[in-house]
């Protein structure tokens, strides 16, 4: 970068002064704990006493056969459907239906659709626990009102429905985000692309396929990373709604970490789970970014 150069008489280490405070805090409270988590994952430790026993890869080996961990991980993967795929599909459908027209009042809709993004997940959880409440909540009350009694369920306590019920909340949180993201992306596509396509006789579907979708590639990348990471990190919702139940049906990896580390005193094991979770997240982010930058070339 040619614009970066040293001013006359300036130490080449001047930049360190500017980054020092931030880097120190970052090293102490982010990087060091991350490395320490990895180290802890090779030990057996109860968190209270001083006896830490080095046990090598044993925690990881145990994790591979721990049906709870595998279940939790599979639930996180299922959440990707709810947090990621459904919202992205909904978002792209809406964006393509609305097309490129500028709608008066769009700011209002955009603000509304985006609202769940800014509300604490604990509040979202409390809200939906009320909605799903089989006795006092509106969902079953509504079903009974319109004569669909047979569809009323103990949602969060039902073995087959608990996971989709928690998942659908993720859809609720994420779809507005995806819609706004894609709508914003569409504004960027030059109008003459479409005009040229129309001259060539391309229909709406072809325009969507050959102009809109390829142009929205950066937005796809963003939507995927953001929503997939959110799906893998679900914690607050499960903490407030189900604590992993019924059975282990809504158990997720982050809750497993919390429970093992802070309630069951299995610190080493919890650290191993946390390490694996982090690796998965980094790997997925990396893959999407790679894919993205390659396709841009």
């Amino acid at each position: 970068m040619n614009k970066k150069y040293h001013w006359p008489g300036e130490s080449r280490f001047l930049g360190y002064l500017y980054i020092l405070p931030g880097v120190v805090i970052y090293l102490l409270f982010v990087l060091y704990p991350v490395l320490e988590t990895v180290r802890t994952s090779f030990y057996r430790w109860d968190g209270f006493t001083v006896n830490r026993t080095f046990i090598g890869l044993q925690n990881y080996r145990q994790l591979l056969i721990d049906s709870q961990f595998l279940q939790a991980l599979s639930h996180n993967l299922i959440f990707i459907i709810f947090y990621s795929i459904i919202p992205i599909v909904l978002g792209i459908i809406l964006a393509s239906l609305l097309g490129r027209r500028r709608l008066p009042g769009m700011t209002f809709f955009r603000a509304g659709l985006f609202l769940p993004q800014v509300i604490s997940m604990v509040v979202v959880g409390v809200m939906w626990r009320w909605i799903f409440n089989p006795v006092f909540g509106p969902l079953n009350a509504f079903l009974k009102m319109v004569g669909l009694n047979s569809l009323a369920r103990p949602w969060l306590g039902d073995f087959n429905l608990a996971l989709p019920s928690v998942g659908i909340i993720g859809t609720w949180v994420m779809y507005g985000f995806c819609m706004v993201l894609f709508l914003a992306g569409m504004q960027r596509i030059p109008e003459d692309y479409y005009e040229a396509a129309e001259l060539d006789g391309a229909n709406e579907v072809q325009q969507l396929r050959y102009i809109t979708l390829p142009s929205l590639r950066p937005e796809f990348g963003v939507a995927l990373i953001t929503t997939i990471i959110a799906a893998l990190r679900v914690f607050d919702l499960v903490y407030v709604l189900t604590r992993g139940g019924p059975g282990d049906r809504t158990l997720v990896v982050a809750f497993l970490v919390y429970r093992a580390a802070f309630q069951q005193n299995r610190i080493g094991y919890a650290a191993a789970v946390a390490t694996v979770l982090t690796l998965i997240i980094l790997l997925i982010s990396f893959l999407i970014l790679r894919f993205q930058s390659r396709s841009e070339e």
Partner: protein, 453 residues
């Protein structure tokens, strides 16, 4: 202006960071209150304003969070403060879950609670292993606490670093608890049902209630733990007191995978299949289930004495209570039970003597009377001249407690057995109730957790 303030703030932060990073233990920095040493109590960092020297504040954590219980605790604290000028009780109320989650971490803090309720069993063992609690044996001698409860109950509040049920005494309980069966008196009168005296009669009663078109048992298992009480109530009918003791204390290599437990699992699963529980019980939280039962829906409810206060306030229904009947009339009565979470003293507190004095008041006849007046079963003896009103829910429970003491039939919460048992039982019982697993799979899964101990 703002910029300058920011710079100062950041600078201060960095100075503090650098200093604490190099020498965590002793840092005479500009920071006003820094814990000098972990083991030693230090002034709280949270509260900049120190109380004047002559008042002493005792921080007490309890989990009597429901409205009625909470009122009783407030009254007890008020009377203690009146009797001890210059003492202020700072009460922190937590739900059981909240307490269970935070207490281990809080007791390790130099500004943690002076007095706190601690869950018995492996929770207490872990905390004792962390050397966070003060042994109370000297205070017990001084205040004659061991005379208040039979030794079998005191042992539940005793622990060592490796096991519980023996070792030093670490806490005193203020309420007695057993899990019994509540019944709706109005409904029983209306249909002419009789109280069962054997477990067979109880089973028959459930069928009668169902046939009459009522919900036999009000139940909500969304939170998981109420299922433990439902299952274990039946379990306590089928096994004997020695088995329950051995299992809970981890003695004599007993197994969970035994015919009696499979039978109990089969029975409660059958109740769920036959529609004996509240419709949609898997999605109903415990507190909601109390609300439903209070409103008159459901003939019976299997839960602990702690709920009694709720059933005598804000309701137009009348409730009674009986112990889960045994196999025959002559079988010695056994029920899940014990004493409420004990009040313990944090090892690092400066106010240990005062804390003990406070606990002594908690187990006094006066405090017992305050509990009884609100319809709750106290652990400590009531004043000699205090009579429980006949025909009340409390009278039923006082009588039942007497029966249990006489038959040496106070069982256990089986989730004490291992540190993970609470979570495992919650999850496995939800599976059992929903018909996701068989009774055989259930007992095998619990045994698998138990064997890891």
């Amino acid at each position: 202006m703002k910029k300058v303030a920011l710079q100062v703030l950041v600078l201060g932060l960095i100075v503090m960071l650098l200093l604490t990073a190099c020498a965590p233990a002793a840092t005479p920095t500009a920071e006003p209150t820094k814990a000098p040493e972990e083991a030693q109590p230090a002034p709280t960092q949270a509260e900049p304003a120190q109380p004047p020297a002559e008042t002493v504040t005792l921080v007490v954590w309890d989990q009597y969070a429901r409205d009625v219980e909470s009122e009783v605790m407030n009254q007890i604290n008020k009377e203690f403060e009146e009797a001890h000028p210059g003492v202020k009780i700072e009460r922190v109320v937590k739900s059981f879950d909240d307490l269970k989650t935070t207490i281990k971490l809080a007791l390790g803090q130099p500004d943690g609670p002076d007095v706190a309720q601690v869950n018995q069993g492996q929770d207490m063992v872990a905390i004792v292993a962390g050397d966070l609690l003060l042994p109370l044996d000297d205070y017990a001698t001084k205040y004659k606490w061991r005379e208040i409860f039979p030794e079998s109950l005191n042992s539940r509040n005793s622990a060592t670093a490796t096991g519980f049920g023996q070792g030093n005494l670490y806490g005193m309980s203020v309420t007695a608890e057993f899990v019994g069966v509540y019944y709706n008196k109005g409904m029983f009168e209306k249909y002419g049902w009789k109280l069962p005296t054997t477990f067979d009669e109880f089973t028959k009663l459930l069928a009668d209630i169902k046939a009459a078109g009522e919900t036999p048992i009000t139940f909500g298992d969304l939170d998981g733990w109420p299922g433990i009480h439902t299952f274990s109530s039946v379990q306590h009918v089928l096994v004997d007191v020695d088995y329950i003791n051995n299992f809970t204390y981890g003695l004599n290599n007993v197994s969970f995978d035994i015919p009696e437990n499979r039978e109990a699992a089969k029975i409660v699963q059958g109740w769920a299949k036959d529609g004996y529980f509240t419709d949609g019980f898997m999605g109903i939280g415990y507190d909601d289930s109390l609300k439903i039962y209070k409103s008159g829906q459901g003939a019976l409810m299997i839960t602990g004495t702690w709920a009694a206060g709720e059933f005598v306030t804000d309701t137009d229904q009348k409730f009674g209570n009986f112990l889960m009947p045994q196999k025959t009339v002559d079988t010695p009565q056994l029920a899940i039970g014990g004493v409420g979470l004990p009040f313990c003293i944090r090892k690092g507190t400066k106010n240990a003597d005062l804390a003990a004095e406070y606990i002594n008041f908690l187990v006094s006849p006066r405090a017992a009377q305050l509990w009884a007046e609100k319809g709750m079963l106290p652990a400590a003896p009531l004043p000699a001249d205090y009579k429980v009103e006949e025909g009340t829910l409390l009278a039923d429970q006082v009588a039942a407690w007497g029966t249990l003491l006489k038959s040496n039939g106070i069982g256990h919460y089986i989730d004490w057995a291992t540190l993970t048992m609470y979570d495992t039982l919650n999850a496995e019982l939800q599976k059992l109730f929903a018909g996701e697993t068989t009774p055989e799979q259930f007992t095998a899964a619990i045994q698998a957790d138990y064997a890891k101990r």
